[in-house]
């Protein structure tokens, strides 16, 4: 803080601190606290508010545990979010390595630009684009049948298939950047030293590159997983008849049922269980939170 004041002067420093505090308090902490309070109150007609029925209760949370369908959707959401995370990791690790260590820096810059341009388009539009690409009469099926790879069109938008594809596309860059940064920071001489000492390419990655990149990998995985589990647009747009996402249920409670109380309870359950799941995975992989923050 003193460093900040010394550098930018007192007024600018106070302004920066105030803006950060405003963002954190007014836009994150307070709304969440309000919803947290909602989640323990009942959804009552207006005339009963403040009456004898307006009490703190766990009933909203019990609703979830009494609904096998909702529990099922919840675990499917976790399962498919994990799947998306794994697919993203499998695609981005080699890509990040090539970008960081194989390509020339000028080529890397071009590559990043090409990767970033789609981000300028909104998530809804990009999801709709995939809806068109994946449809029965869409370009993907046309190309695949055209080059003779498949005989008849595949129904892509069925089950969780299209949702997984859409989510991988939507969040893959959140995996790429942390891993790229981590690998880029690795001294190339270490890779060469490993090779020089007789290690195969695979062994060099396993013993030298991956351990070094682990915080980046963990950070990317946490981000992609959380974004997936909390995503609304992609699962709604690319949904098939049998692919419900947990956020859709929350949305239904809040905007169709107008029951913000149960909706809040569901939202906090999702948050709590996601945090639990992520910390479990971090424990298993032996990664600390401070490593990720780097």
């Amino acid at each position: 803080m003193q460093e900040l004041i010394r550098r930018y002067g007192i007024s600018l420093s106070v302004m920066m601190a105030a803006m950060t505090a405003f963002w954190l308090l007014a836009l994150v902490v307070i709304p969440n606290l309000v919803l947290f309070k909602f989640s323990f109150r009942l959804y009552l007609p207006v005339d009963q508010l403040g009456g004898p029925n307006d009490v703190y209760t766990l009933k909203n949370y019990v609703t979830f545990f009494n609904s096998p369908i909702h529990i099922n959707v919840f675990f499917l959401t976790i399962l498919y979010s994990s799947l998306v995370t794994i697919i993203c990791l499998a695609i981005t690790y080699p890509l990040a390595y090539i970008l960081a260590k194989v390509l020339k820096p000028t080529d890397t810059a071009t590559f990043f630009l090409v990767l970033l341009i789609p981000l300028w388009v909104s998530e809804i539009l990009r999801s709709f684009a995939w809806f068109i690409i994946l449809s029965m009469q869409g370009p993907l099926n046309a190309i695949l049948t055209g080059i003779g790879l498949i005989d008849k069109p595949i129904r892509w938008i069925s089950g969780f298939q299209s949702v997984v594809i859409g989510l991988v596309y939507a969040y893959i860059l959140f995996m790429l950047f942390p891993i790229y940064n981590a690998i880029q920071a690795l001294d190339t001489n270490q890779i060469e030293a490993s090779q020089d000492l007789g290690a195969s390419t695979w062994r060099t990655h396993w013993r030298v590159v991956i351990p070094h990149a682990k915080p980046g990998i963990a950070s990317g995985c946490v981000m992609v997983f959380m974004l997936c589990a909390g995503s609304v647009v992609v699962p709604t747009t690319l949904a098939s008849t049998n692919s419900r996402w947990f956020t859709e249920i929350i949305q239904q409670w809040m905007f169709e049922g107008l029951d913000w109380n149960v909706g809040s309870a569901y939202a906090f359950l999702l948050l709590a269980l996601c945090i639990l799941f992520v910390s479990l995975v971090m424990r298993v992989l032996n990664v600390r939170l401070v490593d990720i923050a780097k």
Binding site: N189, E192, A193, D196, L197, G198, A199, R207, H212
Partner: protein, 365 residues
């Protein structure tokens, strides 16, 4: 235990730039060989060609008579010590040292024992379980050496590994490296721009400039009989005078310059009537009273005196304003002349040489 390394007419191009030009040298088994040259002379490229991180554009690298073409670094019988050492920071010291054995599938017990043994060899006890970050610069150096020795290389390649150390430690590690090399009998190929290191440690030195190997010889030979002007001025100090050869008789020549006429030994590459340079080392120069008539003398005035301890460097200026250096042993009974003393700098015809410029293609040797 060790193998010879034969660089057969090697060229290495980066685009249109030729980094290594027609280098031909055989490094004997068990030899301590240094490539010495200024930065950008191609010496690191040679090291990368031997270790396999690059393939030569032309020519061949042969280790123990076997052509290394197409053999990747992890399959070559070489071990490279990087300039920044490139130790693995996430592994403890002993795992660093035995990494090469780990990738060969050696069991943990054997590896651990081998690590202890190598730590003894490099004189670093009780450090097996330390983290790399806990070690000092010199200790890291030893771990890097142990790590390279663990894979029992036939040839050890060292890329200026002492450059990051402070002077005292550097001098100590020089002796240490030399001792380890003698103990293990492995062929050492050492890259450096530090002539002191190269001369003190090596059996033979190869001096490089602009991708061309200028001279390969023992340190004494390099210092006493440089083949050309580049070697003479890069290795050690020299007073240089430009001029022209006017007569030749029996290896000696008369050399006409703007500072007068001199007699000197003539290099075979320089002929009658050639423009060349005369090189004379400061320790072969002496100062005499101005009125004495001598061969090979230049009238000078003492400019500055630098007392170095065991010797004294006297900087003198001639009538054209050029500075020369005269080195004298420190002898309290014979103090150096005071500044502004007029005298003459003299040198023996046997101890100065007329040499051509650096070779720009391969020099015969």
């Amino acid at each position: 235990m060790s193998e010879d390394v034969h660089l057969s007419q090697i060229c290495m191009d980066f685009g249109s730039f030729r980094a290594v030009n027609n280098v031909e040298v055989t490094i004997k088994p068990g030899e301590f060989f240094s490539f010495l040259g200024p930065s950008g002379c191609g010496k690191t490229t040679i090291l990368r060609l031997i270790s396999g991180f690059m393939e030569p554009t032309q020519g061949a690298v042969k280790i123990g008579g076997k052509d290394m073409k197409g053999i990747r670094p992890n399959a070559r019988p070489t071990a490279l010590i990087f300039q920044n050492l490139a130790l693995f920071p996430l592994m403890p010291v002993w795992e660093n040292i035995t990494f090469g054995l780990e990738v060969r599938g050696v069991s943990k017990e054997i590896r651990r024992a081998k690590a202890e043994e190598l730590l003894q060899l490099v004189d670093l006890h009780d450090s097996a379980d330390k983290r790399v970050s806990q070690l000092s610069g010199g200790q890291k150096q030893r771990v890097a050496i142990a790590r390279a020795l663990a894979v029992e290389p036939k040839v050890m390649l060292l890329d200026e590994p002492l450059s990051a150390l402070d002077l005292k430690l550097r001098q100590h590690m020089r002796a240490e490296l030399r001792a380890i090399q003698k103990r293990t009998g492995v062929t050492f190929i050492y890259i450096t721009h530090d002539q002191g290191e190269a001369l003190a440690m090596s059996d033979r030195v190869g001096v490089m400039s602009q991708g061309v190997l200028q001279q390969v010889a023992t340190p004494q030979e390099i210092y006493n009989n440089p083949v050309n002007g580049f070697v003479a001025s890069f290795v050690g100090e020299n007073n240089v005078i430009a001029g022209k050869v006017t007569s030749v008789s029996g290896g000696m020549a008369q050399f006409e310059t703007a500072k007068g006429s001199f007699q000197a030994k003539l290099d075979a590459a320089v002929g009658m009537g050639d423009e060349a340079k005369l090189f004379v080392r400061p320790e072969f120069c002496s100062l005499r009273p101005a009125n004495e008539a001598k061969v090979n003398s230049i009238p000078v005035e003492v400019n500055e005196i630098a007392f170095e301890g065991n010797f004294v460097n006297v900087f003198v200026r001639d009538q054209a304003g050029d500075t020369h250096m005269v080195q004298m042993q420190n002898d309290p009974s014979v103090p150096p002349p005071a500044p502004h003393t007029a005298c003459q700098m003299v040198f023996n015809p046997e101890s100065c040489m007329i040499l051509s410029e650096a070779a720009t293609s391969r020099h015969g040797h």
